[in-house]
């Protein structure tokens, strides 16, 4: 077994997902078979192989060719954004109390 029920619940907590008992069991089985499958990557000889950090360029090329001038531009999206918020008290987003005094 690659992943236990406790690990599934820990991962769900890290990902801020609430799971029912039944869901936890279903996901445990499914994640288990997927992780079992991806174990085949352990067969590959990776000595001296660098991880692929950029799809097309080295970071230097990207920096030279892709970045625009660092010019300040006005951004007036604030009000529009707050109008979409589930709960707002302008100019703030409102959330449940975080710290108890």
């Amino acid at each position: 077994m690659k992943i236990s029920r406790e690990e599934v619940l820990r991962v769900a907590e890290l990902a801020h997902l609430e799971l029912s008992e039944a869901e936890a069991e279903t996901y445990r089985g499914q994640l288990d078979s997927i992780l079992e499958y991806v174990d085949e990557l352990n067969e590959v000889d990776l000595s001296g192989v660098e991880p692929m950090a950029q799809v097309l360029f080295s970071a230097d090329d990207a920096a030279q060719s892709n970045l625009r001038e660092d010019v300040e531009k006005p951004c007036d999206a604030g009000t529009k954004l707050l109008n979409q918020a589930p709960e707002a008290r302008k100019p703030y987003f409102r959330v449940p109390k975080v710290i108890d005094r």
């Binding site: 992943i3 690990e7 599934v8 991962v11 769900a12 890290l14 990902a15 801020h16 997902l17 609430e18 799971l19 869901e23 996901y27 499914q30 994640l31 078979s33 997927i34 992780l35 499958y37 991806v38 085949e40 990557l41 352990n42 067969e43 590959v44 990776l46 192989v49 660098e50 991880p51 692929m52 950090a53 799809v55 097309l56 360029f57 990207a62 060719s65 892709n66 970045l67 625009r68 999206a77 529009k80 954004l81 979409q84 918020a85 589930p86 709960e87 987003f93 959330v95 449940p96 109390k97 975080v98």
Partner: protein, 481 residues
């Protein structure tokens, strides 16, 4: 004009120029088609009528004035609902964004409209583009217009179905591991994933940022090239968009492919490939040889590891990208007494089963103690997969493969086992991991009349050549082989 007319970009332009139809009439005609067929197909989630008629009026104004007409003048288009549209809801196929109205337009859509295209609406897709059958949409599955009772493919199933059913002339989809090419193959139309970085992703809701791309569906390769020429090119609003010269992708379409070396990888014609799909794609390759291409046998030795590599990298990136849906700033919120409970309940109620599964897999792969074993290892194998292709392209101009190992399957047939669904992405995830451009073209039908797709993969930024081969194949009758 006949309601059944099968329009192309150039026939729309000709009819508008000759004043045989107005953009308004054409727009009316397409909304009429959608009204008649969408309840059955479920290809569109939202229609953008006001915006479409406003654009049609502008087009008719240009025609009346005798102005020079832009490239996609009056062309009715549809876009996948993961692309942001100002003032129009953008759901990503998810309940968590059911009422989300984007504040700005994706660059790709803005460019299409600047070229005169008329946006009809937003198309159905797997939730956050995660799926290979369109069955993961919170708004119900899409029917395959080319194969009733079967999936249209995914995740861009609505965009493929809309074009295949003539509910739009062209459409945009997105491809992370095959989500443009596989639905194109399943619905029997050409569909292209460009090189990573060739099309701006500004305004695309992110799934896996090192893989996501935007590309077109159409009825003809020429129309793919037309749309691609409009959406490609550098955009200062996307730092991952490549600043490299932009050719006109229609310029070389009709040039001969004689002498082109096409690579056929052994690994893509091995166990797991449906026999009828194999026969059709072999016939497709034989046709390419007949028109002058030279077949070269090649090896892509790390192909077997591509699915595992892809599903680690894509889910890891997804778990990070989807952290933003927390009920604070936009989208669904489920109220709860504490902040952490609000996050957890919002995400429980807002996300579907596949999205949760991928978030958990990705979170696990990135979590302390597992990062080296999963994510880092996968990124190294990804280097080897990219290297396989680089070596192959030193010997060949393009690589030919099936797009999917199986023809379109029945709705509901594969939903029980996520891993089995993932495994069918084998021929498309490789090009995704390596950042390569690839087009799927129709390649005949099976004995049950199910569409088969053939994939043409090229080196980075070789879309012109890929389109040239695809067009030669279409002109030689390959679509109906």
């Amino acid at each position: 004009m006949s309601a059944a007319a099968n329009w192309t970009i150039s026939s729309v332009r000709d009819a508008l120029t000759a004043k045989k139809i107005s953009a308004r009439e054409l727009t009316d005609d397409y909304f009429g088609r959608i009204e008649r067929k969408n309840s059955e197909l479920n290809a569109f989630l939202t229609l953008s009528k006001d915006r479409a008629y406003k654009q049609a009026a502008a087009v008719d104004g240009l025609v009346a004035k005798g102005s020079s007409l832009p490239r996609l003048v009056g062309v009715p288009i549809a876009v996948k609902d993961v692309l942001s549209t100002e003032g129009i809801r953008t759901t990503c196929g998810s309940k968590i964004l059911e009422n989300y109205i984007a504040l700005y337009d994706a660059t790709a859509i803005a460019r299409l409209e600047a070229a005169g295209a008329v946006l009809l609406g937003k198309t159905n897709c797997d939730e956050f583009a995660m799926g290979s059958s369109n069955e993961n949409s919170a708004y119900g599955p899409v029917q395959n217009p080319a194969a009733p009772g079967r999936v249209p493919g995914g995740s861009s199933g609505g965009s493929a179905a809309a074009v295949a059913a003539n509910l739009a002339v062209v459409s945009l989809g997105t491809d992370t591991g095959g989500s443009i090419r596989q639905p194109g193959a399943y619905c029997g139309i050409p569909a292209m994933m460009p090189t990573y970085g060739r099309v701006s992703r500004y305004g695309l809701v992110a799934f896996a940022s090192s893989l996501d791309r935007i590309g077109p569906f159409a009825q003809t390769v020429r129309d793919i090239a037309e749309v691609f020429s409009v959406i490609a090119g550098w955009d200062p609003n996307d730092s991952t968009c490549a600043n490299v010269p932009l050719p006109d992708y229609t310029a070389n379409l009709d040039k001969s492919v004689s002498g082109m070396r096409i690579g056929v990888p052994d690994e893509y014609f091995a166990a797991g490939l449906d026999l009828e799909v194999r026969t059709k794609v072999e016939a497709g390759i034989a046709l390419l040889e007949k028109i002058g291409c030279k077949r070269v046998s090649i090896r892509l030795p790390h192909t077997d590891y591509a699915i595992a590599t892809y599903y680690i990298i894509a889910t890891a990136e997804a778990s990070s990208n989807l952290a933003r849906y927390d009920g604070v700033r936009y989208g669904l919120r489920t109220s709860a007494p504490t902040l952490s409970e609000m996050y957890r309940k919002t995400r429980r109620n807002g996300f579907g089963a596949e999205v949760k599964r991928r978030i958990m897999l990705g979170t696990y792969a990135l979590s302390s103690g597992y990062y080296d074993a999963y994510y880092l290892r996968a990124q190294k194998v990804r280097s080897l997969i990219a290297r396989d292709f680089a070596e192959a392209f030193s010997r060949v101009d393009a690589i030919i493969t099936p797009t999917s190992p199986v023809p379109p399957f029945k709705l509901g047939e594969r939903t029980a086992d996520p891993l089995q669904m993932y495994l069918a992405d084998i021929y498309t995830v490789t090009g995704s991991l390596a950042g390569l451009p690839a087009i799927s073209v129709p390649c005949g039908k099976t004995s049950e009349k199910l569409p088969v797709g053939m994939q043409i993969v090229g080196p980075h930024f070789s879309e012109g050549r890929v389109l040239q081969i695809a067009n030669a194949f279409e002109q030689a009758g390959g679509f109906a082989i």
